[in-house]
């Protein structure tokens, strides 16, 4: 299969990943965010952060399972969208729920495990976003960069648990996120010991084993 034009694929991903924020902005402008728009924005951005974390974590398994190495080029953008929606989610909480009161935010974070977990997930994403540039990869060196970016596993786990702890009774969606995360992380564990099962060699191209994971 011919390599797709990566620039164009990136454009498609970028446009699609921007659809939710565009619709949120549009609906906010037309007052169509429902009866509780602040809660709606908070929940939507939080869910989006988790979705993009899952998508970013799905890149490596997809790439290996399908033998399409170019997929790796989409991972940074997906991760940055996760960080973007996560930042909006935190900003919504800090503004709508806490009115920028540092004291109230700290109190709540220490008192409520689900908020602590959400904060933890976000804090873990910050260094990953900062070191996402090519320059930073070079400066850190591939091995160190890889080790640092394994923090995303913990950020995703914290995010899923954060969601699970806040729902009242209908835990189906947070559990679904948990299952997806378990599959994505399970694949990595399996891949480490049995790459022959989990990987497909790209047709007529040598496997590059040292690709960042």
């Amino acid at each position: 299969m011919a390599l797709p034009d990566i620039k164009f694929v990136k454009l498609v991903v970028f446009m699609n990943a921007s659809v939710p924020i565009a619709l949120l902005a549009r609906d906010a402008y037309f007052h169509e965010l429902g009866a509780n728009p602040l809660e709606f924005v908070t929940h939507t951005t939080g869910t989006l952060a988790l979705i993009f974390l899952m998508l970013a974590l799905a890149v490596t398994p997809m790439r290996k399972a399908t033998g399409q190495p170019w997929l790796i080029k989409l991972r940074r953008m997906l991760g940055l969208f996760a960080f973007f929606y996560g930042s909006l989610h935190l900003f919504a909480f800090v503004w709508f729920d806490k009115s920028f009161s540092i004291r109230a935010i700290i109190d709540d974070t220490l008192k409520r495990p689900f908020i602590l977990l959400g904060m933890l997930g976000f804090v873990l994403m910050v260094p990953l976003a900062i070191t996402s540039t090519n320059k930073m990869v070079k400066r850190l060196g591939g091995e160190r960069w890889n080790r640092l970016h394994r923090a995303v596993y913990f950020a995703a786990a914290a995010g899923v648990l954060h969601y699970y702890l806040l729902v009242k009774a209908d835990t189906r969606i947070p559990i679904a996120f948990g299952v997806v995360l378990a599959v994505l992380l399970g694949y990595r564990a399996l891949n480490k010991y049995f790459p022959s099962i989990t990987e497909r060699t790209p047709a007529r191209r040598p496997v590059v084993r040292s690709q960042p994971n």
């Binding site: 164009f8 509780n36 709606f40 709540d108």
Partner: protein, 321 residues
Amino acid sequence: MIIKKPDDVKSSEITDEKLYLNRRNFIRGAVLAGTTAATTLLYRTLNASGKKTAETAAVRKPVTGYHTPEGEPANDLEDIANYNNFYEFSTSKQAVAVRATGFVTRPWSVEIAGLVHKPKVFDLDDLVKLAPVEDRIYRLRCVEGWSMVIPWLGFPLRRLLREVEPTGEARYVHFVTLLDPKRMPNQKTGVLPWPYVEGLRLDEAMHPLTILATGLYGKMLPPQNGAPLRLVVPWKYGFKSIKSIVRIALTADEPKTTWSDYAPDEYGFYSNVNPEVDHPRWSQARERRIGEFGMRATLMFNGYGDQVAQLYSGMDLKKYF
């Protein structure tokens, strides 16, 4: 396979470069438009913000003039009718109105049973004739931390209870919601044990603020708000005000209630609005009034303390939350 040498290819057979690029741009444009349209559709399907349903859109925005005695204006009907916790239809507050559209509430009977001298199965149309309905403009505080002002139409529960004459042993009132997974589709899930049940102490049930509501904004109750008959206990968290009631039974012992049975450490039998007793996972000190941007302080007994605090005199409300 014949590989033509460049000289063999007639110039007329070569796709013009401009045309080739045009075609590529067209395909790319289509891919971009197609995928973003699909993503838009996906977002709209999975994340509906609560559109106006045909039923509520048909009702004109009511004339103003509905205020609590404290002067707080009632919320818009559109908000009241499109933001509902009614797990029998959906656990998404925005989705209940749509899923409940067409919920049939006639014929409807309500059984009054248990420790009463005159047990009876009422047809709803007879039950609502027991007492004249009146506007009751109450605050509703949800355990989730939001609140509304709702102009109910209803009559005091005690009018019904007096009709059936509770016996001397009766100390509690037990309420049951309709169980019919065909009409209440989310009852097919195990999100909560069905049917939904609630309970009050008899003196709470007899309190003049406790009403059975049949309408809001002067009209019949929309399905998503608990049609055709629901309880409203304004000083308790919203989930105590059970919807679509089919059975009311007087009992000697404290009855089982859905949420306190589901998570006893989070929801008590009393569930009085109390800013000093936090939900184990979130604070109850403040609330967001729907339609307002900031948060306001939550009032003890949802602001009805003058009228109901004496029901609980001598009780440790941190223990009996």
